[in-house]
């Protein structure tokens, strides 16, 4: 049985009559110990869908799914108090902005042991020892001394390590890392990714890695889900998706990698922006930016279809040579 089974997750904001779909029928299945990368431009619904999975989308957002099972439990059917026991212990999350994600008024030790207090219990001394142990695991030197530090005394990289320590405190089965390295500088990025992947392997936990960074995904993930404007456009295995992308958007994303523009006068880009609330196209959401779009693409919205082990939302999936099929 899969650890997480999510089918047709939809998150809507705005009024009932005129809703705006931030996440549109996203399905995702994750096995124990699996690393799944979710990539896409800003505004493609990556973060919102994982917040919905955590149960953190609050009013006026509305979350629906035809199925949302975690470890055999139906997350949508259970009462809020029950779900909070899973959130933060079995499913944990770390965020993009480590500097603002820690509460400035409480010490690092307090914030780590608080998670333990709620989900695990134990005496104050036990929790303190465990917190120090966790800081050690994420590579913070002199952990006992750091316990009494306040977040403003830590650098961005240190803060993210503390966030990771906090997230893994209750031995989660699934860790969601929402662009964990975007706000950090490059040398620290590599260190944080190392810590994350080492912990993932040591503990055998599943990891959802939300990122812009395709290079990180290609190295770390087993599977990749590409999102665009709230929809999943392609799901596939690594390395297949990098060697032979089936969806034009995935192809365009890969071509936009700076490494692939080596020797060219200009970097390759995808023209235009992700459609906003009021300018969603009638047909395929990518149609205005897609170089292969035809009349059907502009008028009819494609559905997800299976194609050689991958899932594609496109009328003209690309062949192995990267050319659209009729």
């Amino acid at each position: 049985m899969a650890l997480l089974e999510m089918e047709n997750l939809t998150v809507e904001f705005g009024s009932e009559k005129n809703p705006f779909r931030a996440v549109d029928q996203v399905s995702l299945t994750i096995d124990k110990g699996e690393v799944v990368g979710i990539v896409g431009e800003s505004g493609s619904g990556k973060s919102v869908s994982s917040l919905a999975l955590m149960g953190l989308v609050s009013y006026p957002g509305r979350v629906n799914a035809s199925r949302l099972n975690f470890d055999g439990n139906d997350l949508l059917a259970m009462p809020q108090s029950q779900r909070r026991k899973i959130t933060g212990s079995d499913i944990a999350m770390i965020f993009q902005e480590p500097m603002t994600s820690l509460n400035p008024c409480f010490t690092v030790g307090y914030q780590i042991s608080e998670a333990l207090k709620v989900h695990v219990g134990g005496s104050r001394q036990e929790r303190r020892d465990r917190a120090a142990d966790l800081l050690q695991q994420v590579g913070i030197p002199d952990p006992l001394k750091r316990l009494s530090a306040f977040p403003h005394q830590l650098s961005g990289g240190m803060s993210q390590r503390v966030m990771i320590a906090m997230a893994i405190a209750c031995n989660p089965k699934l860790l969601i890392a929402d662009e964990p390295t975007t706000a950090l500088d490059v040398t620290i990025q590599a260190q944080i990714m190392d810590v994350l992947l080492r912990l993932q392997q040591d503990r055998g936990m599943a990891l959802i890695l939300i990122t812009h960074d395709l290079a990180v995904v290609s190295e770390a993930a087993h599977r990749v889900q590409v999102m665009y404007a709230g929809q999943v456009v392609e799901t596939g295995k690594v390395p297949d998706i990098f060697t032979a992308p089936r969806h034009p958007y995935t192809q365009a994303l890969l071509e936009a990698l700076p490494e692939r523009s080596r020797g060219k006068r200009r970097l390759t880009t995808i023209p235009g922006v992700v459609p906003g609330v009021y300018d969603r196209p009638k047909g395929c959401l990518l149609a205005p930016r897609c170089r292969y779009a035809d009349a059907t693409c502009r008028t009819v919205r494609p559905q997800v279809s299976d194609l050689a082990g991958a899932k594609i939302r496109c009328f003209h999936p690309l062949d192995d040579a990267g050319r659209p099929t009729p």
Binding site: L56, F95, T100, S101, P104, C105, V118, F150
Partner: protein, 289 residues
């Protein structure tokens, strides 16, 4: 005779000497004698000050216990009927002329319903020795039956009237500060830990939201301790505010002069204490070296 009085009041000396002498005495706590009562100004002030402190603290207690939860509630339920009514009521309270509000309450509670006394600190049937000057404490110490309840009865209306504006200010400040904090990333982190809404709001958000609210409370406290002139006058509350107004009416210059000086020092002291408190609640200030 005239020369004698002039010499007694020091008016025969040149102006700069009078002023230097005044400063010299003021530093040592001697603010001169009241023209009316012939008692030292500092002594008069100290006798009346406990009454003002008592009233101020009770008013602030009232304002904080209602204003803070109301502000938090409004912020959590933002955009709903709860939010709008809390804001409407606090705006009404803020714009209400204090003397009119006091009179309204007296007419309703004291005259029509007869549940509270009209004015003063204690009914005439009790005689309590001023041990501490705080009527609530003194009545408890005196062991006279019913005196404490009577003192409390006298305190309710003035405290409500004096606390109305601070209540409104605190409620509005708490709401806006809370709304800001609730959007912060660390609130999302707290929720992601699986904490109950009560803990997320009451511990993680409130601690941060309190920082600007404390400042407002401190400023209000300073102003109130300086004598709630309107409230004390309406309720014949024997405190600093009423004493200052009376002194002005009697042209009692030493009292007015000394009173203002003392009131100013009280405000400065309170603000200083608030700054210290600020450091306790906000670690970012405490650790700056």
């Amino acid at each position: 005779m005239l020369n004698l009085i002039k010499a007694l009041l020091g008016l025969d000396k040149p102006l700069w000497q009078q002023y230097t002498l005044y400063l010299y005495h003021a530093i040592q706590g001697d603010l001169g004698l009241s023209i009316v009562t012939k008692k030292p100004v500092i002594e008069e002030f100290l006798t009346l000050f406990p009454a003002t402190i008592e009233l101020t603290l009770c008013a602030m207690l009232f304002a904080v216990t209602i204003g803070l939860p109301a502000g938090i509630w409004a912020a959590v339920k933002r955009g709903t009927a709860v939010d709008h009514s809390v804001m409407a009521v606090s705006l009404t309270g803020y714009s209400m002329p204090i003397f009119w509000w006091g009179l309204l309450l007296i007419i309703f509670c004291s005259v029509t319903l007869g549940i509270t006394p009209v004015s003063g600190r204690l009914s005439a049937e009790y005689w309590i020795d001023p041990t501490t000057g705080f009527m609530l404490i003194d009545t408890l110490l005196s062991e006279e039956e019913g005196a404490f309840a009577d003192a409390l009865h006298h305190l309710v209306l003035p405290a409500i009237v004096l606390g109305t504006i601070p209540l409104a200010v605190i409620a509005r400040m708490t709401r806006s500060s809370m709304l800001e904090v609730l959007r912060e990333d660390y609130v999302r982190t707290a929720r992601a830990k699986g904490l109950s809404p009560l803990r997320v709001i009451g511990v993680h958000a409130l601690r941060n939201a309190l920082i600007p609210v404390i400042t407002v409370i401190g400023l209000q406290l300073g102003t109130m301790l300086a004598g709630a002139i309107l409230t004390e006058t309406i309720f014949s509350w024997p405190g600093i505010g009423r004493w200052l107004i009376q002194s002005i009416a009697r042209r009692d210059y030493p009292s007015v002069q000394g009173g203002i000086l003392l009131v100013a020092s009280v405000i400065i002291t309170v603000n200083l204490l608030v700054d210290v408190l600020y450091g306790i609640i906000n670690p970012r200030i405490r650790h700056t070296r």
